[in-house]
């Protein structure tokens, strides 16, 4: 990030401001803009980015306010409405009302067999997905940054062995490994013959996805750190007698912040879909925990008779991932204008 040289009071075109300056109409106070302000103004001009930011925000709000939404809407994702009201499902356990039971009461229809409300299940499912995605991204980013920095800064044997270790993890087929190791992690907490509570499953997904997800970030940070390490300002700091702690936290990290932020934004949707994929395969969350991935594996059984159950979660997840992907691109463009798409 270059330091801002243009002096502007507003976020308007600097040339315009400059011309009023030259005309000498009135003396304008010279104000620099921080890199953050520049990035923000650049981001605001990206229409796709703004739209996606709004959509993402809406999803986040829905996730946070899920209990409020479900209270206002008057349904619970855990309730089996089909069992209470026998007119909702027919003899085959399929919704009686057309289009998968869509009605004023059940906006997105009800699930076959149990008659759960799909709308609240999606809202709560987003909450689950986003929650898992966030904790996984935060922890894998932390791991990746710490390991990558250490590798790049320390170099030598440490760098070599950690590098080979991450090569080894990268050689693992990630989905297969996650499926195979999920029971192992879960079992480390709860014996396999006991029933597994939801939080244990959450921890299982968290540990596995984070352990298999830090290598990309570590590699990136390592390569940037190696090139930054040789720069003059780091050398100057060393000569001035700065401690390694100061060099890492005050000199290196601020220069890595952009990369870390962009990479983390782009990883979140990937992690959310991985988590949903695990639940789809039956190793993540299980009924009755509301989860998008689990809804897909349920819904796939009814693709011939009840498409509604499949379509709403599908649209919800695809929109979310698409918005987040595009938002990630926009954030990258705003923070790092050098990259060409």
């Amino acid at each position: 990030m270059t330091t801002p040289t243009g002096a502007t009071t507003t976020e308007e075109d600097p040339v315009l401001v400059g011309s009023t300056d030259a005309a000498g109409a009135k003396p304008v106070e010279l104000l620099g803009r921080t890199p953050g302000q520049i990035a923000w103004s650049r981001f605001k001009r990206n229409r796709t980015g703004v739209v996606c930011a709004v959509i993402t925000l809406a999803y986040i709000l829905a996730a946070v306010l899920a209990p409020v939404i479900s209270a206002l809407y008057g349904k619970s994702p855990y309730e089996f409405y089909g069992m209470k009201d026998s007119t909702l499902l027919d003899d085959f356990g399929l919704p009686v009302a057309p289009n998968g039971g869509m009605s004023g009461d059940f906006w997105f229809g009800i699930t076959p067999q149990t008659g759960q409300d799909i709308f609240t299940n999606i809202v709560y499912g987003i909450r689950t997905s986003l929650g898992v995605g966030l904790i996984v991204v935060i922890s894998s980013t932390l791991m990746g940054v710490v390991i990558g920095l250490a590798q790049g800064y320390l170099g030598g044997k440490f760098d070599y062995f950690v590098g080979r270790f991450s090569d080894m993890l990268l050689a693992l087929p990630s989905q297969l490994t996650a499926i195979a190791f999920f029971p192992i992690v879960v079992n480390a907490i709860v014996p396999i013959d006991k029933e597994t509570p939801t939080w244990v499953r959450l921890v299982g997904m968290w540990v596995i996805l984070a352990l298999l997800g830090w290598m990309g970030m570590a590699r990136l940070i390592r390569s940037i750190t190696i090139s930054l390490r040789e720069r003059e300002y780091i050398e100057a700091a060393k000569i001035a007698g700065a401690s390694p702690r100061r060099i890492i936290f005050k000199e290196l990290l601020p220069n890595l912040a952009t990369t870390i932020l962009v990479q983390a934004t782009l990883t979140l949707p990937a992690m959310i879909t991985s988590a949903a994929g695990l639940s789809f395969l039956g190793v993540g969350f299980t009924s009755p925990t509301p989860d998008l991935g689990r809804m897909f594996s349920d819904a796939a059984q009814y693709y011939e008779s009840d498409l509604t159950y499949l379509i709403f979660p599908g649209i919800a997840l695809t929109t979310f991932v698409l918005a987040f992907n595009l938002l990630g691109d926009a954030v990258r463009d705003a923070l790092d204008p050098k990259t060409i798409r």
């Binding site: 080894m168 050689a171 195979a180 396999i192 395969l281 499949l310 599908g314 798409r341």
Partner: protein, 326 residues
């Protein structure tokens, strides 16, 4: 070249060896008593002890790993089940077969899915990317790039049932997807795989479209292209002979890596379409708590990925003379 290959192969073997250690010890920590699963109902403690001894479960963890590694190189004897030949990955309790045989039964489906699927995403992706680069900024370009974005953001477990509902249930264009060996019935083998191929390719092709587009645009502004044009070469010749060739090396790299990924088992695609391949096998082995099978599948597909990484690096050296391997 030979030196490069031997060095990389040795590296891969070391990685695989470490993986065996890591995964074996991790899987051993599961308190699933394999002997119990393998013992008929109401089996006496004496019988159980015999089964345990036959399976080598009475040895320490470390000895078991050693036995496993030894089995990989020289094979191992499995009591009444006979002798398990050289790359022995153990014995599957749920299938009552050697793990390597189970894998070999299921692997053809994965190969078929991977090869057809990768041809689909390579052809679709590269074509879209080339046309986008050629008609840069046109409506086609916009549509292709939005479509790629959408494809990258959607999920196989969503598209697969939708595609089946449309093409199988409603339009009756295709039969329910499934794997038939090509040698048995070539036509139904292909028609059964068309949907899985196309659906699998959706999540991959967008990357190719974007890469090919930007690589071609970058190539076309290079000096040697301008020189070729200045010499009076036709646009088409320059396009195919020079620009495409320059853009190919990175594409081959991505392709090789992706091929390794799909060949190591496209779990979600296989489960969505009910294809009995490596990925499906992995899921089943986990539900059946068949640890030996789990381990075998994992190592087998890790080996597939490693082999493809080496092939890719070697191919890169051949395609791009500037890259020196060794």
């Amino acid at each position: 070249m030979l030196r490069f290959l031997t060095r990389r192969a040795l590296g891969a073997i070391v990685i695989l060896f470490l993986l065996v250690l890591l995964t074996y010890l991790a899987v051993m920590s599961l308190p699933v008593d394999q002997a119990m699963l393998n013992c008929p109902k109401g089996c006496s403690p004496q019988q159980l002890a015999i089964v345990r001894h036959n399976m080598g479960l009475d040895k320490s963890n470390f000895e078991q790993v050693l036995d496993y590694v030894k089995g990989l190189f020289v094979g191992a004897s499995h009591g009444a089940d006979g002798f398990c030949n050289a790359p022995c990955l153990g014995y599957s309790q749920s299938r009552h077969q050697f793990v390597i045989d189970v894998i070999m039964d299921n692997y053809p489906a994965t190969i078929m899915l991977a090869l057809g699927g990768s041809v689909c995403f390579l052809v679709i992706g590269v074509t879209l990317g080339m046309v986008s680069a050629w008609k840069q900024g046109s409506l086609f370009d916009t549509i292709a790039s939005s479509f790629s974005q959408l494809g990258q953001s959607t999920q196989i477990f969503f598209v697969a049932p939708l595609a089946m509902a449309l093409f199988v249930t409603n339009l009756h264009w295709l039969d329910k997807p499934g794997y038939t060996p090509f040698t048995e019935d070539p036509i139904s083998s292909i028609t059964g795989m068309i949907l899985p191929w196309l659906v699998l390719s959706i999540i991959f092709w967008s990357n190719y479209t974007r890469q090919v587009r930007s690589l071609m645009i970058e190539q076309l502004s290079e000096d040697h292209i301008r020189a070729a044009r200045a010499k009076g070469m036709s646009n088409r010749y320059v396009w195919w002979r020079y620009a495409l060739r320059g853009a190919m090396a990175p594409i081959v790299t991505i392709f090789g890596l992706d091929l390794g990924v799909v060949l190591s088992g496209a779990v979600i695609t296989e489960v969505s379409f009910g294809i009995h391949g490596l990925g499906m096998l992995a899921v089943k082995s986990v539900t059946a708590q068949d640890t030996q099978l789990e381990l075998g599948v994992l190592l087998f597909s890790a080996a597939a990925i490693l082999v493809f990484n080496i092939v890719v690096d070697a191919a890169y050296g051949l395609l791009d003379p500037r890259v020196r391997i060794g």
